[in-house]
Structures are given as structure tokens and as C-alpha cells.
């Protein structure tokens, strides 16, 4: 099969600050990021013929309106847009929208695709509603619901087994969060910009043993957008395209109980698939933008992406390899544990950060020579795993 390697690129990105913004209307944030992405891309808005809104979690009406061409009307694209449709696969919506956008432009069905995410998980959803939502989604109603499962419990289940299997210490787990906080301190769009030490994190109380309060992600309002076009058009409109070099993915299960043992082993072939398409090995990777949600997601991903010896990801974090100035910068926006968890947008923020690093637009946290950046996404309770490789050159 003819690979799409290097035939499409992200040419524009937009993002507003993530956090609690009760006074910021949903549509304002959504339009702001579309405008930023279009201006960043060098394309005219008339060049964009497909709009892909990502599913909204906090408000069903906002989500429905995005499905019904809200952005097309607000952005004045009504004479030039050909398709507007939602993509929603939770946390992995970034990867599935990127895959779809790349396929649309390389096939010639679209000239350029605008993907936009906006949600108000911080102020549009109260805590009890959020806890209730995350205890029934991706949960089997006949056989799991009675036992008190939730997405937070998921983090406990995963971290427990990961520590058991690998000998990863609590200090190393806390180092994951400390590393993310260091990156977030350099990110003006992050919600939590104050650094935390390993000790601060270990002092926080246990929520879902062995997970502590400061090892949890934080729900936030946020919005981000990106634009994909063909490599040919990218060269004509921008000096800083982020070429799509490799994509790999696997879907594994609906529920956590339905996970093939061991948890998430199927993630490795997704990474291999992406590396093979990109023609790279893990050693070629300059920056790893890893979907976090919880420390264990990050650690398992690092292992399965073969960025370290199996089970040794915790050591990389503890030794500062992943932090600013380290040899392998990881999740340089601070991830969902520090930039904030915006629903399906956590993955979009990570993808946008990967493109930003490749484009050289990451400001104080720019990694020098970020030529090859890998990014990942995970949906549901770990239902799928996606790996993308972006690069400065084809």
C-alpha cells in the first residue's frame, strides 16, 4: 500500500489558555482558536473545505451545535466549506481526526481540513456530575457498575499493577508529575504553572491507592485547533510545516475488565507501525509528547514506545531526562496533569504541542532541534492507543 508518509502536514495551530474561565463563552474560545490556526497556517479561510469539530463532553447542546455547522457560520465559511462533521473517540480524538484529515487531503477529497476542539470541563460541569459521568462511561452496566469503578479508580488499578510488575517506586511516579509541572511552568496556556517538588506530591493524600491527589489530572476549560493540508500546498504557504511521517494505532477493548492481559500490551504494535511508516527508530526521536491523563499511562506508553528498557520509564523521570533541558523531553505542554484535562481535548493539546515543537513555535519551552516528534493518544479506559510521528523534513 502506498504510504501517506510526508504527503500531508499540519500547517497552522491555535490554542487559548486552559483553566477555569467561567466568563469565556464556549463559542468565543472555539472561534478564537480557529482564527489563530488559520492566520498561523498561511492559508486563506476559503482554502479550508472541511471542518471537523471534536465531540464536547461538558455540554450536549454545544456539541450538537458544533455538529450543525456552528463554526462554518461563525467563521463565514458557508460559501466554501464542503463538509462539517464531528469526530469523537474521547482522548484519542486527536489521532482519529489527524488520520481522517490526512486521508482527506492526500486523497484529493479536501484541500485543507480544520480540526477544532472546545470544551468547558472546568466550569461547565460540576464535580459531582463529573464524578458521576466518569463512573459510567466505558463501564459495563450489567457487570461493572455495581462495584464503584471510575476513571480515577482506573488510575489506581493501572498504577498498582505497573508498580508490581516493574518495581517502579512511588518517588518515580511522583517524578512524572514533577516533570510535567516543570514544563507547565514554561507554558503560558497551562492551568498549573507553579512547580511542585516530588516531596509536595508525595505529601498529598491518597485518593485511589496508590494514586495520590497530586497525581490526578485536573479538569479545565480549553480550546485548540489545527489545520492539515497536503505537503505540496504546505510548502507553498508556510516555512514551518509539521509533516505527518507516521501513524499507527490499535483498538483493544471497551471496559477495563475486557483488557487483554497484560494491560495495554497491544500498544506496542501501534508504535512499531508508526515508526515503520516514518522510517525511524526510537533513538531518532527528539521529543515525546505522550498522552498522560495519569502517571501510569505515561510510564506504560514510554515502555511500549521503546523509549527506554521495559519497566524503566520511571527512572527517566526521576533522573530528569524528561524535564526541561533533559535528553528526552516528554509532554512539554505539561499534559493533562498540569496544562489541564479538557475532555477530548487533552489529546488535541498534545498533538498541537507536538506540531508546535516541530514548527519551532514553543517559546520558552522550545526544544532545540525538535526534528522528529512522537505524539500519542489514548481513549476511554485505555480502549485504544495511537502514535503519530511529526517531522520538520520529509
Amino acid at each position: 500500500m502506498d504510504s501517506i508518509r510526508g504527503k500531508a502536514a499540519i500547517v497552522g495551530i491555535g490554542e487559548v489558555p486552559t483553566g477555569h474561565y467561567p466568563e469565556r463563552p464556549f463559542i468565543k474560545a472555539a472561534v478564537d482558536v480557529c482564527e489563530m490556526a488559520i492566520k498561523d497556517s498561511g492559508l486563506a479561510k476559503e482554502d479550508i473545505d472541511t471542518v471537523i469539530p471534536i465531540g464536547v463532553v461538558s455540554n450536549a447542546l454545544d456539541g450538537a451545535n458544533m455538529v450543525c455547522c456552528w463554526i462554518v457560520e461563525e467563521m463565514g465559511m458557508g460559501k466554501t466549506a464542503k463538509s462539517n462533521f464531528q469526530i469523537m473517540s474521547g482522548g484519542s480524538s486527536s489521532a482519529n481526526s489527524l488520520k481522517t484529515a490526512a486521508a482527506l487531503v492526500t486523497s484529493g477529497l479536501s484541500k485543507a481540513v480544520l480540526v477544532v476542539h472546545c470544551d468547558r470541563m472546568g466550569t461547565g460541569l460540576d464535580l459531582q456530575a463529573a464524578l458521576a459521568t466518569f463512573s459510567v462511561v466505558s463501564v459495563n452496566q450489567e457487570y461493572e457498575v455495581p462495584y464503584g469503578f471510575s476513571q480515577l479508580a482506573l488510575s489506581g488499578l493501572l498504577q498498582q499493577r505497573y508498580m508490581h510488575d516493574t518495581g517502579t517506586t512511588e518517588r518515580q511516579i511522583a517524578s512524572v508529575v514533577a516533570s510535567l509541572r516543570k514544563w507547565a511552568a514554561l507554558n503560558p496556556n497551562a492551568m498549573l504553572q507553579k512547580p511542585k517538588t516530588v516531596e509536595d506530591i508525595l505529601d498529598s493524600k491518597i485518593i485511589c491507592h496508590p494514586v495520590r491527589k497530586k497525581m490526578m489530572n485536573i479538569l479545565a476549560d480549553g480550546a485548540a485547533a489545527y489545520i492539515v493540508t497536503t505537503a505540496e500546498r504546505a510548502k507553498a504557504v508556510t516555512d514551518t510545516p509539521a509533516y505527518i511521517l507516521g501513524l499507527g494505532s490499535r483498538c483493544t477493548n471497551f471496559t477495563v475488565t475486557g483488557q487483554p492481559q497484560d494491560f495495554f500490551k497491544a500498544w506496542n504494535p501501534a508504535a512499531r507501525e508508526a515508526y515503520e511508516m516514518a522510517g525511524i527508530t526510537p533513538k531518532d526521536i527528539d521529543v515525546a509528547e505522550i498522552y498522560d491523563a495519569f502517571p501510569s499511562f505515561l510510564l506504560q506508553s514510554m515502555d511500549y514506545l521503546e523509549l527506554c528498557k521495559p519497566g524503566e520509564a520511571g527512572k527517566l523521570f526521576e533522573d530528569g531526562v524528561t524535564s526541561p533541558g533533559g535528553e528526552l523531553p516528554v509532554t512539554t505542554n505539561g499534559g493533562m496533569m498540569a496544562q489541564g484535562h479538557t475532555g477530548a481535548g487533552g489529546g488535541i493539546a498534545i498533538l498541537v504541542e507536538a506540531a508546535r515543537q516541530v514548527m519551532g513555535k514553543a517559546g520558552d519551552r522550545q526544544v532545540p532541534n525538535a526534528n522528529i516528534v512522537v505524539e500519542t493518544a489514548v481513549g476511554g479506559v485505555g480502549m485504544d492507543f495511537h502514535v503519530g510521528v511529526l517531522g520538520r523534513e520529509v
Partner: protein, 145 residues
């Protein structure tokens, strides 16, 4: 006894068979008649070979804790009064996996791979939930997940 206010399982034609058996202190799972695969959660067709000929089997009720977590806070709202409780994923000896609560166990004793066995908790007159306790432990009256 106070009213049970935690969520109850969705009862369908299929899950009714499972929960009716629980009332008789039997833990059922499915086995594919074509390929022999042990199946749980109960399904319409075998996820291995797509056969529709699935038979209910009775588990011996023993397995090992694959992983667990102890919830102390931020639990689903209906569990807020039940903290702390232990949620676990258990690999059963027959080759299927089940989620449940571990009960009658000192929290310090919990560990991955510990052997457990099923106990039946009649939470309402209609619904009995299978839960698990460590093998070789007496079930204490007080602690219920």
C-alpha cells in the same frame, strides 16, 4: 438495615440468568461450544470464533487478584458513604476476568496475585452481587464493599 442506594446492575434477558444464579450462590460464566473459549462478560457471540452456541458454566469461584485499588475519595457519588472500599480485577482459574470488590480483608494484606474466592452479598431481595475474599480467611461480618 438501611436502604441499599448504590447502583444496581442493568438486568437484561442475559444478565438475569447470571444474577438469578448468584441468588443461589453460583457464579456463572460462558463457554463457547465451538472453540472452548471462556467468556466474560457474557456476550451474544463468541469474540474468538463468532459462534452463537455459548453455554453457561459454573465457576469454582477461585482466582487471583490481577490488580486492585482502594478508593478513599472522589468516588462515584453513590459510593461516597462507603469509603474506603476495594475495587479489583480478578483473573479466575477458568480463564475469564471479572471486576468486583474485595471484602473481609485487612487493607494492608492486599496484594497483586493474591488468591481470592467468591462470596455472595445479597444487597437487595432481587440482587445478589458476587464479591471476593482472600482464600483461607473467615468472612467478617462488618466490612462490606
Amino acid at each position: 438495615m438501611s436502604e441499599y442506594n448504590k447502583p444496581l446492575p442493568l438486568i437484561t434477558e442475559q444478565s438475569k440468568v447470571f444474577y438469578d444464579a448468584c441468588k443461589e450462590e453460583k457464579l456463572l460464566y460462558q463457554q463457547c461450544s465451538e472453540c472452548g473459549q471462556a467468556i466474560f462478560f457474557p456476550k451474544q457471540l463468541c469474540p474468538n470464533c463468532m459462534s452463537h452456541v455459548l453455554e453457561w458454566q459454573t465457576s469454582r469461584g477461585k482466582g487471583k487478584v490481577y490488580t486492585f485499588t482502594i478508593s478513599y475519595d472522589f468516588a462515584p457519588p453513590q459510593f461516597a458513604q462507603a469509603l474506603p472500599y476495594v475495587l479489583a480485577i480478578i483473573n479466575m482459574d477458568e480463564g475469564f476476568t471479572i471486576m468486583s470488590n474485595i471484602v473481609a480483608c485487612d487493607l494492608e494484606r492486599l496484594e497483586c496475585d493474591m488468591p481470592v474466592e467468591v462470596v455472595f452479598d445479597p444487597v437487595t431481595p432481587e440482587i445478589t452481587l458476587p464479591k471476593f475474599k482472600p482464600v483461607n480467611s473467615e468472612q467478617k461480618g462488618g466490612h462490606r464493599g
